[in-house]
């Protein structure tokens, strides 16, 4: 019962199964490629959406205007408290003088306005840079109750809309991927069923001489996994080529560049290959299992 003999047997069975119906094999590999490409596109889109949101968020600062004459010690405590909140990256204190300096710089073209700027009453403020914009409402709601605070301003609409889009894309994409994976497993199951059918006499004899179900199943499952592997490798290749091209030809007029984080791209590739193999394994398993169940008690 050496495992070496078994492995050799499984491999040769898989190889000869592959030869049985080339066209169907191509079809099932192609379906895996298409599904995994869709999955890849989704993951890439999601990646870019996420980096765009991060980009927008880092530019979005929550401005917390302080009441005039709030004691420095109280402001300092408040600043440290906000820094400790979940989703906050950094908090800057903008003094009255600094605010005035900024305003002056903004209006530097209009020299005659300089006088006015000096006389306008400006509040000091805390500027909050968010690490995670989805936490913005919880952060502001905590701050709102503080006594030293006058008003809060931030790009509420943009941030919440982007986060909403991301949520919708995630849910919709996930649903589409699940459906695609089921369809792919189904196509693979059909292909494997043909191989199983072509080899039904052998399977029958195997059953009669006492081969276990698993012994009979393995070569077919390996075949399904192989279809999944080849199909997803193709998908990774196509996606990599396409995405690289896109990244290189990305119109400069767009505000944000394509995300090109190698670590994440590697993870996406691994996810596609694993996904393809899992779908292949599942499709072939269900097919051969069903066949064995219907043939004999």
């Amino acid at each position: 019962m050496s495992s070496k003999i078994r492995l050799g047997y499984f491999l040769s069975e898989t190889a000869s199964n592959l030869r049985y119906n080339g066209l169907m094999t191509l079809a099932s590999i192609g379906t895996v490629t298409v599904s995994m490409l869709v999955l890849g596109a989704f993951l890439l889109f999601n990646l870019n959406l996420k980096s765009t949101i991060n980009e927008v968020s880092s530019k979005t600062r929550v401005c917390v205007y302080l009441k005039a004459g709030a004691p420095a010690g109280e402001v300092d405590v408040l600043k440290r408290m906000v820094e400790g909140l979940d989703g906050v990256r950094k908090v800057y204190y903008v003094s009255v003088d600094e605010a005035r300096a900024r305003l002056k710089q903004d209006m530097s073209g209009q020299a005659d306005l300089g006088q006015i700027v000096d006389t306008v009453p400006l509040p000091a403020s805390l500027e909050i840079e968010m690490a995670d914009t989805s936490k913005i409402t919880s952060v502001t709601s905590v701050i709102k109750g503080q006594p030293a605070i006058d008003e809060i301003h931030y790009g509420e609409d943009v941030v919440t809309t982007l986060n909403l889009i991301r949520r919708i894309v995630q849910i919709g994409g996930l649903g589409a991927i699940i459906i695609l994976c089921i369809v792919t497993a189904f196509v693979i199951a059909n292909t494997i069923r043909l191989t199983v059918f072509a080899r039904r006499k052998e399977i029958r004899i195997m059953q009669l001489v006492g081969a276990t179900d698993w012994f009979i199943k393995w070569p077919f499952i390996m075949e399904g996994i192989f279809h999944g592997l080849v199909g997803s490798l193709l998908a990774v290749g196509i996606a990599a080529a396409g995405y690289t091209w896109l990244a290189n030809n990305w119109p400069l007029t767009f505000i944000f560049p394509l995300a090109y984080d190698e670590q994440t791209l590697l993870h996406i590739s691994i996810a596609l290959i694993t996904g393809g193999m899992l779908v292949g394994a599942f499709g072939s398993f269900s097919s051969v299992r069903k066949f064995l169940r219907t043939v004999l008690v």
Binding site: R6, Y9, E202, I205, Q207, G210, A211, T212, F215, V297
Partner: protein, 228 residues
């Protein structure tokens, strides 16, 4: 070796294949099952290697109750029961040798052992010199010998044969039965369903006759038809 107790088989379509059958087959027996077509001969054999299940009664094979046997245990039952059919069921793209070796490969026997056993069994059935022939290059009688070789290469305790001579001329049929008889003499229990009157009458072995799924006769050293 094989015990049937009150066994009935009713198919889902309502056809009753066996009715309340009691049968005891001892170790080393050579038993013919005879009866008109549709009387239940094949059903009995299929019950032994559990291709069919009974709807009532108990079946014990090689000391094991197989009535409620779990699916995953069936392969191990079958390793002890060799099966031979009327239509051979050889794999057409494989040589005689490979057809026999296949039966050992798929139950995980090692290469060296497979080689040893296959050579031995092919020699026993007198076809070692045809080891490399494809089934199409063999006569019907030779093909059946290869099937028998495949059925016994694993040294099963029981050999079940469903009309093994159904496609053969009388002389070849007689040779095949002699081969089965030699296997029986070495200790294997042989159960053979047949329509072949001459063979049954010449062999003078135990005969079980069926009619409409009922056992109607069970004779030692019996004949094809009742002689009383």
């Amino acid at each position: 070796m094989i015990t049937f107790q009150g066994v009935s088989v009713v198919h889902p379509n309502g056809v009753t294949a066996l009715r309340d059958l009691d049968l005891k087959i001892e170790k080393g027996d050579f038993l013919f099952i005879v009866g008109p077509t549709g009387s239940g001969k094949s059903t009995i054999l299929k019950l032994i290697y559990r291709e069919e299940v009974c709807t009532a009664g108990r079946i014990i094979v090689a000391g094991k109750e197989i009535t409620g046997m779990a699916r995953r245990q069936i392969p191990y039952l079958r390793r002890g029961v060799g099966v031979v059919f009327q239509d051979f069921k050889l794999l057409p793209q494989r040589t005689a040798w490979d057809n026999v070796a296949f039966a050992l490969h798929v139950i995980g026997v090692g290469k060296a052992e497979v080689k040893r056993q296959v050579a031995k069994v092919l020699d026993n059935v007198g076809l070692l010199h045809k080891a490399d022939a494809l089934p199409t290059e063999l006569s019907a009688g030779e093909q059946q010998r290869i099937c028998i070789a495949r059925a016994v290469v694993n040294n099963p305790v029981i050999l079940v044969a469903d009309e093994p001579t159904g496609n053969l001329d009388p002389d070849t049929s007689w040779d095949i039965v002699q081969l089965l008889s030699r296997i029986n003499v070495k200790g294997t229990t042989v159960v053979m369903a047949t329509h072949d009157r001459h063979i049954v009458d010449r062999m003078r072995k135990r005969v079980v006759a069926l009619q409409d799924g009922r056992l109607v006769r069970d004779e030692d050293k019996g004949a094809y038809v009742c002689e009383l």
